[in-house]
């Protein structure tokens, strides 16, 4: 058994490293860079993933979008007026709202704007329940209520408001044959960005003022989470019994979920690259320790003369190597957490980097240090004790 106490080993190791501070710092920096990269990559991907997952949880993964696809001649088609009721009758469907583009209607700031300069906005009749189905919210003003849904009032999607130059409710828009008052502007809709360029007119008013026939160009529905797949399977026949092939059903949250998965794959690749950096750092530590074991022949001999066993010498060198690597690890973890915090602040989200990531990283560097130190320690301990006198 070695008579060296753990505190003595620590003291020896730190003194050994202080003997060549620059060399120690450079070797530790090699490790620190690898660890910082690993921790920062984990932190950044974790932060953005938590952000995505929060978004998913907020928006829900049970939203389905139904759109008619083009017919054989490439002409756009519409879903029959019965589609909303029929699909709404599927029992797991909890919410449903239809939207129908009004092809012949444009929205203009004044009657003097030539028709055709539509500013790329789409006038659409929407069910007043749409805002609940999408869990969207207004950025300004209000959504339709029972009191105004029969009147020519519109709510603008966020892009439509920008394109028409409307920055506050109260503005009037010319809809070709009728003025309509803007009563609200929606915030961007995360799961249905096609809403953003819409000028939305409530369905009852569309019937009254624009002869809207009730056929739809899109259905938005929520179903019981566990039944989403079953529901989406029966939608085409239900929505358009005559042309089920012209109905496309999609689940917008799939795109977000796919992003999480893609981020995971990228994350693994980056962590692997950072691990290579750590490996290179470990080789640097090993190299430094081998040089130390050669340079310090006489110190080793002197220690053997004082009564150090081979194990004592090996322990000292191994401890130096581990201390060097672990110091780098601690620096790297601090850097990694700092980078993550800056990233999170820049993205306006809260940083997500659990404590165990840092602790694991430090443990890994201790492991790297011990592996890097094995050969130098063995080499130092095999040194013949006579070296103390060899200077003669």
């Amino acid at each position: 058994m070695s008579l060296l106490r753990p505190t003595d080993v620590l003291r020896l190791a730190s003194r050994g490293l202080r003997g060549h501070p620059l060399r120690f710092l450079l070797s530790a920096a090699g490790i620190a860079i690898g660890v910082a990269a690993m921790v920062a990559v984990t932190g950044i991907t974790q932060t953005s993933r938590v952000d995505l997952e929060e978004q998913l949880a907020k928006l829900g993964t049970n939203l389905l979008t139904v759109v008619p696809s083009d017919d054989m001649n490439g002409e756009p088609t519409r879903l029959p007026a019965t589609a909303v009721t029929m699909v709404g009758n599927i029992s797991p469907v909890t919410d449903i709202s239809g939207v129908g583009e009004l092809d012949s209607v444009g929205a203009y700031r004044s009657p003097y704007v030539p028709s055709g300069q539509t500013s790329s906005v789409v006038v659409t009749a929407v069910d007043p329940s749409l805002i609940n189905t999408l869990r969207a919210r207004t950025a300004q003003g209000h959504w339709f209520t029972a009191a105004n849904e029969d009147y020519p009032t519109v709510v603008l999607g966020s892009a439509a408001a920008t394109r028409l130059g409307v920055d506050a409710p109260g503005t009037r828009l010319w809809l070709g044959r009728q003025w309509a008052v803007v009563i609200g502007i929606l915030a961007p809709v995360d799961l249905a960005s096609e809403i953003d360029p819409m000028v939305m007119l409530p369905t009852p008013a569309a019937h009254t003022y624009f002869d809207y026939d009730g056929t739809t160009t899109g259905l938005y529905l929520r179903s019981i989470e566990s039944q989403v797949h079953a529901v989406s399977d029966v939608i085409p026949q239900t929505a358009s019994p005559q042309q089920p092939g012209q109905v496309a059903v999609s689940r917008p949250s799939d795109a977000l979920a796919a992003k999480v998965t893609a981020d995971n794959a990228l994350n693994r690749l980056l962590v692997a690259l950072a691990a290579i950096g750590l490996l290179v750092g470990g080789i640097g530590v090993s190299n430094t320790m081998i040089i130390a074991s050669i340079e310090r022949r006489s110190e080793i001999g002197m220690r053997r003369a004082l009564g150090a066993t081979r194990l004592d010498i090996a322990t000292q060198f191994l401890a130096e190597s581990m201390l060097m690597a672990t110091s780098g690890g601690v620096l790297g973890v601090i850097a990694g957490y700092t980078v993550t915090a800056y990233y999170a602040r820049a993205q306006g989200v809260s940083p997500a980097l659990p404590l165990w990531v840092g602790l694991t990283a430090i443990l890994i560097t201790a492991g790297v240090g011990s592996i890097a130190g094995l050969y130098p320690a063995a080499r130092a301990s095999r040194q013949a004790p006579v070296a103390a006198l060899a200077a003669l």
């Binding site: 003194r15 006489s298 001999g301 220690r303 003369a305 004082l306 009564g307 006579v386 103390a388 003669l392």
Partner: protein, 228 residues
């Protein structure tokens, strides 16, 4: 009459390449002996010191130190023996520039299982014994050569060794400091510690109790009284 603390019989040591550093040396050292091993470079005196200091193993012959046959001891047991029985003093001092004199001396007990605080307490006492009580917190580079060698001697004394082996202890010192170091070593013999000094300085050797002269790996002359 006490038993010899160090005994060697017919020691030979061949180095790889056919160099015969020692060709049959026998020697007895009693407690309190003050022995000079003299000889020119290459006479084998450093090899002899390595063998009796348990730093190296002989090709043939035996070394008995404090009653223990070194050939029968494992590497680990030799380390213990060095920690407990032998104190080394080197020409190069081998002091760490990162530590104070007191901490350097305390290293003498690092491998003996003594706690740090106790080591430092004893180190301070050892330094005081050698007249360095006002140099405890100086680093070696702030000390003169003579003071550094006294620090190294204090370190060698820490384990209360039966034998002190000194390898050219005055080699890096001027004559005044060299004499001082010799006097210190002589004082150590007064309480029974055996001191063996390797030197090529005959003048220095003349002031010691016994002189053993080596040439080409053999004892060619022995003078002075061995037993006290």
């Amino acid at each position: 009459m006490s038993a010899p603390v160090l005994e060697c019989h017919d020691l030979t040591r061949h180095h790889p390449g056919g160099v015969q550093a020692l060709r049959g040396v026998s020697l007895r050292v009693w407690p309190g002996d003050f022995v000079a091993v003299v000889g020119p470079s290459g006479s084998g005196k450093s090899t002899l010191l390595q063998l009796i200091g348990a730093l190296d193993r002989p090709t043939a012959g035996e070394v008995v130190l404090a009653g223990r046959d070194l050939a029968r001891l494992s590497d680990r047991a030799l380390s213990r023996l060095r920690a407990e029985t032998i104190g080394f003093v080197f020409q190069q001092f081998h002091l760490s520039p990162l530590m104070t004199a007191c901490d350097n001396v305390a290293e003498g007990l690092l491998y003996s299982g003594v706690r740090h605080g106790e080591r430092r307490r004893r180190a301070a006492a050892a330094l005081a014994r050698l007249g360095l009580e006002d140099r405890l917190h100086h680093r070696p580079q702030a000390l003169s050569g003579g003071e550094r060698q006294r620090v190294a001697i204090a370190r060698a004394l820490m384990g209360e060794p039966a034998v002190i082996l000194a390898d050219e202890p005055t080699g890096n010192l001027d004559s005044v400091n060299g004499q001082l170091v010799v006097e210190i070593l002589r004082e150590l013999t007064a309480d029974g510690t055996a001191v063996v000094v390797v030197t090529h300085d005959h003048e220095l050797a003349a002031r010691m109790g016994r002189r053993i002269e080596l040439r080409d790996g053999l004892v060619v002359h022995e003078a002075g009284s061995g037993r006290q």
